[in-house]
C-alpha cells in the first residue's frame, strides 16, 4: 500500500532587496496523470526552471509534474514578501529584536500548497512551497524509487528504507478528517474539505495527530497569519520543525555559494549594488533540486549539508 506524504513543490531564494535570486520547481505526484501518463503533452511542456532534462523525463514516466507554472510559483513567492515584512514588523513591535530566523508557515495557499519561510539576519529569505500531497510513498518499493521522481542515491543514507519513511510519515501526523473537525471547533473556522487520499496506515497515527495539533494551537493563535497556520497544520500535521533541516541545508548551500570568489555579491545582494541578477551557479541549482527532492517530513538532516 502506498502513502501520500508532503513534498516540496518549489524552493525560492529572495534577496534583501526583494529581488528573486533563485527558483527551483519540482514535480508533484499527480494521481490522475499517474494512471494516464502517456498523453498530455501540454502538461509536460511547462518549462521547469532548474529541473534537468533527465528528471523531467523520469517524472513524466511516473506521473509527476509541477503543480503550477513557473510564473504562478514566482507570484506565490512574491506574495510571501508581504508576510515576511509583516512578521518583521511584529517582531520589532513586540521588542524581541532580532529575527528568529525560522518563520514557519507563512501562508496556506489552498488545501495542497503551503509556503514556509526562513529569513537570515542579512535579509536573505528562503521559501519552501510544500505540496501536502506531493509524493507517493510506496513501502513495497525501496525508498530510492519514490514515485516523486528520480532521487539520487546519495541523498539519503541507505538506512532510510521503506519502513523507515513510512514511520516518519506517521510521525508527521497527516491529519484525518476527524482531527480536522476537532480543531476547527476550537478556533471556529470554516470547515475545510477533508483531504481525501491522505491517510496513514499506522494505527497509532491518530493519537500522534491529536498531540501535534493541540500542542500547536495555543502558541500561535495570537495573530492572523497564525490562524491560517493552525488550519494548515491541523489539517496536515506538518510541523514547522520538520522544515528546519531543509532550511538549514539551504542556508549551508547558500553559504557555499557565497564562498565562491567568482560569485559577485554586487549583482545579487548588496543594498547599493547593481542588483537584479539571478543566481546562475549550476552547483547551487543542483543542490536546491537535490534538497527539494530529498526532503521527506520527519526524516532528519541531509547528507553533506
Amino acid at each position: 500500500m502506498a502513502t501520500i506524504v508532503p513534498s516540496i513543490a518549489c524552493l525560492g531564494v529572495i534577496g534583501r532587496n526583494n529581488n528573486p535570486l533563485h527558483l527551483t520547481i519540482l514535480p508533484s505526484y499527480n494521481p490522475s496523470s499517474a494512471s494516464a501518463i502517456t498523453s498530455d503533452p501540454e502538461k509536460q511542456q511547462q518549462p521547469a526552471t532548474t529541473i534537468s532534462a533527465s528528471t523531467t523525463a523520469s517524472s513524466a514516466a511516473t506521473g509527476a509534474s509541477p503543480l503550477r507554472t513557473p510564473l504562478q510559483f514566482s507570484l506565490l513567492l512574491s506574495s510571501t514578501l508581504d508576510i515576511f515584512e509583516l512578521r518583521a514588523r511584529a517582531h520589532a513591535a513586540s521588542g524581541t529584536g532580532a529575527l528568529s530566523g525560522d518563520l514557519g508557515l507563512l501562508c496556506a495557499v489552498d488545501e495542497r500548497l503551503a509556503c514556509y519561510g526562513y529569513e537570515t539576519n542579512t535579509g536573505v529569505r528562503f521559501v519552501a512551497v510544500v505540496d501536502m500531497r506531493g509524493r507517493l510513498l510506496d513501502p513495497t518499493l525501496p525508498s530510492t524509487t519514490l514515485i516523486h521522481g528520480a532521487i539520487p542515491e546519495t541523498d539519503r543514507s541507505s538506512g532510510g528504507g521503506a519502513g523507515n519513511t513510512g514511520a516518519a510519515g506517521g510521525g508527521a501526523g497527516t491529519g484525518t478528517g476527524t482531527t480536522g473537525d476537532d480543531t476547527s471547533g476550537l478556533v471556529n473556522l470554516p470547515s475545510l474539505p477533508p483531504l481525501s487520499g491522505i491517510g496513514i496506515l499506522s494505527p497509532t497515527s491518530s493519537s500522534t495527530t491529536v498531540t501535534t495539533s493541540s500542542s500547536f494551537i495555543p502558541g500561535t493563535s495570537s495573530r492572523k497569519p497564525s490562524l491560517v497556520a493552525s488550519i494548515a497544520s491541523a489539517s496536515t500535521g506538518l510541523r514547522d520543525a520538520e522544515l528546519k533541516p531543509l532550511f538549514k541545508a539551504m542556508q549551508t548551500s547558500w553559504v557555499r555559494l557565497l564562498q565562491n570568489p567568482f560569485f559577485d555579491l554586487d549583482e545579487h545582494v548588496l543594498p547599493g549594488g547593481r542588483g537584479g541578477r539571478k543566481i546562475t551557479s549550476k552547483k547551487f541549482g543542483e543542490d536546491m533540486r537535490r534538497l527539494g527532492m530529498g526532503w521527506i517530513p520527519g526524516v532528519g538532516g541531509f547528507e553533506g549539508f
Binding site: R256, L257, Q259, N260, P261, F262, F263, T280, S281, K282, K283
Partner: protein, 192 residues
C-alpha cells in the same frame, strides 16, 4: 629518503612545529586575489595565470627557507625522485596539510605529476561561466610558481604547469613538473 620516511617526517612536523590557521581564511583570501586579478586584467585569463605564477615564485623564494628550517633536513636530496617525495609528503603536508600523489614519471626520471586529491585553495570555487575561464584559467596556478621559486633556491631549475583541474570539469587536478637542469653554484662575475 624513502617515501614512508618522508610521510612520517611530514606528519611529525605538521603535528609539532606548525602554526595552524583557519582553512576558510586561506581559501577566501586566495579566492579573492584570483577574482580581483581577473577583474583587474579584464578577464585576460592567460595574464592572470602569469601573475599567479609570478606571485607564487616570490612566495617560493622565501618559503624554502622556512621549509628547510622546519623540516630540519641538512642533507640534500640525492636525486629528483627524492625531491618529488619531499615536495609532496613534507612540503605540501606541512604548509597545506595535503599530500598530492607523485606519479607518471618519465623514464629519464626528470618529469613527474602531482595529482591533487584535495585542494584547499579551490574549496567552494566555481569558475566563471563565460565560456573562456573553463579553458584558460588555471585557478591554483600559484602552486606552480611556488615550486619553481623554492626549487630554484636549492639549485634546481624546473618548469611546472597544470595539465588538468577538477574545476574545469576534469577528473583530477594534475600538475606536471619537469626538471630542466641543476644550477651549478656560480661564482659572482667580479670574483673572476
Amino acid at each position: 629518503m624513502s617515501s614512508n620516511r618522508a610521510a612520517r617526517l611530514g606528519e611529525e612536523i605538521w603535528k609539532t612545529r606548525i602554526d595552524k590557521v583557519s582553512a576558510e581564511l586561506v581559501t577566501l583570501t586566495y579566492g579573492t586575489i584570483v577574482a580581483q586579478l581577473c577583474k583587474d586584467f579584464d578577464n585576460d585569463y592567460i595574464e592572470v595565470n602569469k601573475q599567479l605564477d609570478r606571485m607564487g615564485y616570490n612566495i617560493g623564494l622565501r618559503l624554502i627557507e622556512d621549509f628547510l628550517a622546519k623540516s630540519n633536513t641538512m642533507k640534500r636530496c640525492s636525486n629528483f625522485r627524492e625531491t618529488a617525495e619531499m615536495i609532496a609528503k613534507v612540503g605540501f603536508k606541512i604548509f597545506l596539510n595535503i599530500t598530492p600523489m607523485v606519479t607518471n614519471w618519465t623514464n629519464d626520471n626528470k618529469q613527474f605529476s602531482l595529482v591533487f586529491e584535495e585542494n584547499p585553495l579551490a574549496d567552494f570555487v566555481e569558475l566563471p561561466d563565460d565560456g573562456r575561464a573553463q579553458d584558460e584559467l588555471w585557478f591554483s596556478n600559484i602552486f606552480c610558481g611556488v615550486l619553481r621559486g623554492a626549487l630554484e633556491m636549492v639549485q634546481m631549475q624546473v618548469e611546472a604547469h597544470f595539465i588538468s583541474d577538477i574545476l574545469r570539469g576534469n577528473d583530477t587536478t594534475e600538475m606536471r613538473v619537469s626538471l630542466i637542469r641543476y644550477i651549478d653554484d656560480e661564482l659572482p662575475p667580479e670574483d673572476d
